[in-house]
Symmetry: C2
Subunit: 161 residues, 2 copies
């Protein structure tokens, strides 16, 4: 896809993502809470991503500096994908997509609970979530509280409700 | 494009947009400040959108309830596209894309000025901008101040600077 680039920051952001699948992979890596292997992204995908699409988008996301490849600490021969700082800073955008989605689409109650927690928590919780991702993916110090645990609890409560 | 829908609000949001071109058309309609004809979207596009892509995405955006077709008040035979409330509520998401873009891509100074004004203005200015779009596209009462004029002034100042 060759493009006439305009220099508009919104356009350049869209060009960096690539497409819907790229954002889905970033979402799964963010909310999955840990470094992801090719296999876990493939078999864990609730969208049913095809393996050739996953391989292509992982290459693209790595080339664009949104994901980094590292050796799996438990299986040295295996590669895992980690979020970069650039990708972690997409959290507010993901939150906005979730907020818009709960208002204007018909999402599942369980998956909306996560978006609702992030919306209600505001910029403060997004910052906590980003710190947690920096801990999980970049080796920064562990944050005091886990935003992911808060989202998980809300998901579970919504299923029981 | 047939998809296995997951019910995740982020995924459903991405499905509703469609692709990069759809968001570019929404951006141009939002920041263009008025109802847009096919011709003005085509010839005014800084991304060089092709006419067949524009036609296809306008059909898709209309089907998904993000744009509405109306008769041009000045030329009754001509059709103009207006933003719906659903599309106007994408403003915070556009702002986040712009903010991320000024940090992580290399945008033009002039086009970044607009994103910067929106970022600095915060949720208060986004609400004003949405009210202005409701005035321009939905016939709501005119807002006290124009967010578009503020962005335009910042663009012009950046060129002179």
């Amino acid at each position: 896809m060759k493009l006439r680039r305009s220099g508009c920051p919104i356009n350049l952001t869209l060009e960096t993502f690539g497409d819907r699948w790229s954002l889905i992979i970033l979402r799964d890596t963010m909310f999955g809470g840990q470094r992801r292997s090719f296999r876990s992204l493939l078999t864990g995908s609730i969208e049913g991503i095809a393996s050739n699409i996953l391989a292509d988008r992982l290459k693209r996301l790595t080339a664009n500096g949104l994901l980094a490849r590292a050796a799996d600490p438990d299986h040295k021969q295996r590669v895992v994908y980690t979020l970069t700082e650039k990708a972690i800073e997409l959290v507010p955008l993901m939150v906005m997509m979730g907020s818009w989605g709960i208002r204007h689409t018909l999402p599942s109650i369980e998956l909306s609970a996560r978006a609702k927690v992030l919306e209600d928590g505001g910029p403060r919780l997004w910052a906590d979530f980003m710190d947690e991702l920096r801990y999980l993916h970049l080796g920064s110090p562990a944050p005091a509280a886990s935003a992911l645990a808060k989202m998980q609890a809300a998901c579970e409560a919504s299923v029981l409700a």
